[in-house]
């Protein structure tokens, strides 16, 4: 073992950066301990008691940044310090130099980039409407990432946009892929002929990823925000997006994804669909599908792929049904490994659509299903901090995200809950969605690894990985690492939920 220390004088980095650097440093291969701390007397005492206070650090002042690393050998040390330099430099670039040329507002931005045709807006909700209006008045499409935009503002914006032939994606639109460009939380997908309209962010990510992984591609993926398909908004943008895809020569198949629209909106969507001459796949999660129509995001994606290839949709659904028979066999083996008393499913979802899909699937398989964001037959969980019977949680809901990053970025809350649920003797299965791509956590497997490993000693941990091989995190690598940590990794959220449901059924608590 070798130990090295460095002092960075006059270096001010915010706590989030320092803790992230410390965490990543400690997780490096060959590093057994590391510290990135201010050079106070107390911290030097702690370093001393941990054997990390080398001579180079002893005379540091309170305001100096200390970096101490204990590693297997010199080579690992050099590599660790190089990594620290890279992370701190990147942080400095973001807060200082990159910001120096940043435009102060929309007008400045248009002067810098006069050819822009879309504004992506992510400011506090009470300001977002004003910014979106300015963008529309300047002839730009809008992607409104911001939440907490008043309903009246959303309606006003969308009516104006419709008049001007522009799109307003959102509010609360976290995902879109326009002309091959991923916006906000989105995956690197193949370009192709399937166009998607989604009032469900992670639903959009799931279908576009599966379509890419199946070898087909995406022409456009337009997110409308979840509220768009409610009666109050009337599906304004959903319908405009359908029109846009109908007119797009690059789109041959249209895939619609949403929770069930309010009945008047559903009627308008149905009427619009009848007028479009391209094949349309509809997935309204929770609504009873007609025979031969998809019931899950996975099925919808596979059907769209079949149509893009000129195949019969039924073939795709039959292939998945055969796969589900294998899931049932796998479930039996997993159920046999559970201890007496283990019977419940606990789902910890970072994607709201996945949580909704889980409820739809599991409600058909088990009884006593609770959720903090219930839909369909899911019942409201009174205290989101305490699971009850079968529980699925949308960790992206406000009670979990206020004052902290979204669970797709920061896994700390989910990891803590994962361990708590695994410690509950009645838990048999834990479900996790792992959504990768732009905007999401860059080291998902590494950050989940310890908690998954600990949990999988007691319960069956089932993950799905939403993403592609081209995503920065690389879906295949993430899946491998999760498997190594002891998780079962399924090809979709639906498959993961079905496996969980089958295990619970086999454990004797069928619906």
């Amino acid at each position: 073992m070798t130990i090295k220390g460095q002092i960075r004088k006059g270096a001010y980095f915010d706590s989030v950066t320092l803790m992230r650097v410390g965490r990543e440093l400690s997780g490096l291969n060959g590093v057994s301990d590391a510290a990135v701390v201010m050079g106070t007397k107390s911290n030097k005492a702690i370093l001393a008691s941990s054997g990390l206070l080398v001579d180079a650090l002893k005379h540091a002042a309170d305001t100096d940044l200390l970096i101490a690393v204990k590693a297997d050998n010199e080579k690992k040390l050099t590599s660790a310090f190089a990594k620290v330099d890279e992370m701190l430099r990147s942080s400095t670039r973001k807060t200082e130099t990159a910001g120096e040329d940043r435009p102060g507002g929309l007008e400045d931005a248009l002067r810098v980039l006069p050819g822009a045709n879309t504004a992506l807006i992510s400011v506090a909700g009470r300001y977002a409407g004003g910014e979106a209006l300015k963008a529309l008045q300047n002839g730009l499409h809008v992607m409104l990432f911001s939440d907490n935009v008043p309903l009246e503002t959303e309606i006003e914006l969308k009516q104006l946009a419709r008049k001007k032939g522009l799109l307003v994606m959102g509010p609360g639109a976290g995902t879109a892929i326009i002309n091959g460009v991923p916006l906000a939380f989105a995956n690197v997908v193949k370009r192709g002929t399937i166009g998607v309209v989604a009032a469900a962010g992670t639903g959009l990510q799931e279908v576009t990823s599966i379509i890419t992984n199946q070898g087909e591609g995406i022409s456009q993926a337009i997110g409308t925000g979840g509220r768009d398909v409610k009666k109050s908004v009337g599906g304004i943008m959903f319908l405009e997006a359908m029109k846009a895809l109908a007119a797009d020569p690059g789109t041959k198949v249209i895939l619609l994804v949403s929770k069930p629209p309010d009945p008047p909106v559903l009627r308008r969507i149905a009427a619009a669909a009848r007028a479009i001459r391209k094949p349309i796949v509809q997935l309204f999660l929770g609504a009873k599908p007609k025979a031969g129509q998809p019931a899950t995001l996975e099925e919808a994606a596979h059907v769209a792929v079949a149509l893009a290839r000129g195949e019969e949709p039924a073939t795709a659904l039959q292939r998945l049904a055969a796969r589900d028979a294998d899931i049932a066999k796998l479930a039996k083996r997993q159920a046999a490994r559970r201890k007496r008393g283990q019977r419940y499913i606990r789902g910890l979802f970072s994607g709201g659509t996945f949580c909704a899909e889980a409820q739809v699937i599991l409600s058909e398989m088990v009884s006593g299903l609770f959720c903090n964001a219930p839909t369909g037959r899911g019942r409201r969980l009174k205290d989101p901090l305490k699971s009850r019977k079968h529980t699925v949680l949308d960790l992206g809901e406000e009670e979990f995200t206020q004052g902290r990053p979204h669970p797709m970025i920061d896994y700390s809350l989910r990891n803590k809950r994962l361990l708590e649920e695994a410690a509950d003797r009645q838990t048999a299965v834990i479900l996790l969605d792992v959504v990768i791509g732009y905007g999401s956590n860059m080291s998902p497997a590494e950050e989940l690894r310890d908690a998954v490993r600990a949990a999988s000693r007691k319960v069956c941990v089932i993950c799905s990985v939403t993403g592609t091989a081209q995503d920065p995190q690389k879906a295949g690598r993430v899946a491998e690492r999760l498997k190594k940590a002891g998780a079962m990794v399924m090809p979709s959220n639906a498959a993961a939920c079905k496996l969980a449901g089958e295990i619970a059924r086999d454990l004797g608590h069928a619906h």
Binding site: Y12, V16, L18, K41, F400
Partner: protein, 294 residues
């Protein structure tokens, strides 16, 4: 570029750039600090809240009714001054109601605070998140420091006499504070944030007339002195009972809010820094719990 509030401790003068972060830019005149912050950070004694943070400018001038750098000028009126003293008293609350809200706050901190924060003082199970040798040393030091800081409190706080504090109590408290001061991760170490929360809690108890904490506040503050300007500044403000808007909202809600509002305010505070908000909140809640227990 709109200025929405300016803290009552912001003094006129010329300041130069100290440090720049995503949501805050600090300036100093060598002794004092002022900070330009975004609305997400919010009002505070030394905060100047502007809608858009300027990306340029290494100097700041604060006048009687305006703030300016080389590129921007923000005018303000006295109505936009944020009054920072914590002016609430526990006498305004129904005791059972306040205790219930404190428990809600504890529960949320224990359930949702950053895994490397001091919330393990509220839920010992959280210590399992500190796995390396260094982290375990940190946990032991904090536990020892807090035990000393508060062991003195149970006796000393009832018998505090500002004229002649018992030597043994003062020595115990000071030893505990010195273990915590400067201890931990982050730009403002966790121990300092905890001490700030402790000082704010003591000020609330003092203002409520439940305890005479004047001597204790002095012991803690003087034992925690730091050469780090940021730490030194927020400890001074905490000693004087001057708090940020988020902290004030939290106290107000603890006194008369419902569980949902308490949760909302606590979670707002948890968004400060990586662990700073959680550490300060932990210091506050532990202090007030012990101060009101019989």
């Amino acid at each position: 570029m709109e200025l929405t509030s300016i803290g009552d401790e912001v003094k006129p003068g010329r300041y130069r750039l100290h440090s720049r972060f995503r949501r805050a830019v600090n300036f100093t005149d060598g002794r004092r600090l002022v900070t330009l912050v975004t609305p997400e950070v919010g009002a505070g004694p030394l905060n100047i809240v502007v809608r858009d943070l300027p990306r340029q400018g290494s100097a700041l001038r604060v006048g009687r009714y305006s703030v300016s750098n080389a590129h921007h000028r923000w005018a303000f009126t006295s109505e936009q001054t944020y009054r920072s003293p914590l002016s609430y008293s526990l006498k305004e609350a129904r005791p059972a109601f306040f205790r219930k809200n404190l428990r809600v706050m504890e529960r949320i901190l224990a359930g949702e605070a950053h895994p490397k924060s001091l919330a393990f003082l509220l839920d010992p199970q959280r210590t399992t998140g500190f796995s390396t040798t260094l982290e375990q040393s940190f946990v032991r030091r904090v536990q020892e420091g807090v035990a000393k800081m508060f062991r003195g409190m149970a006796r000393g706080i009832r018998s505090d006499d500002p004229g002649s504090p018992p030597r043994a109590v003062a020595a115990t408290v000071v030893a505990g504070v010195r273990l915590l001061s400067g201890c931990g991760f982050g730009l403002t170490p966790s121990g300092d944030d905890f001490i700030a929360g402790h000082l704010i809690g003591l000020n609330l108890l003092q203002a409520s007339g439940l305890r005479d904490c004047r001597a204790r506040i002095g012991w803690v503050y003087h034992a925690a002195r730091s050469s780090n300007l940021l730490t030194r500044t927020f400890l001074r403000l905490a000693r004087e009972g001057r708090v940020t808007g988020k902290q004030k909202d939290l106290v107000e809600t603890l006194l008369d809010g419902d569980e949902e509002r308490v949760g909302s305010r606590v979670r707002d505070l948890l968004g400060t820094g990586a662990t700073s908000g959680a550490d300060l909140a932990t210091g506050f809640v532990v202090t007030v719990q012990r101060g009101i227990s019989r």
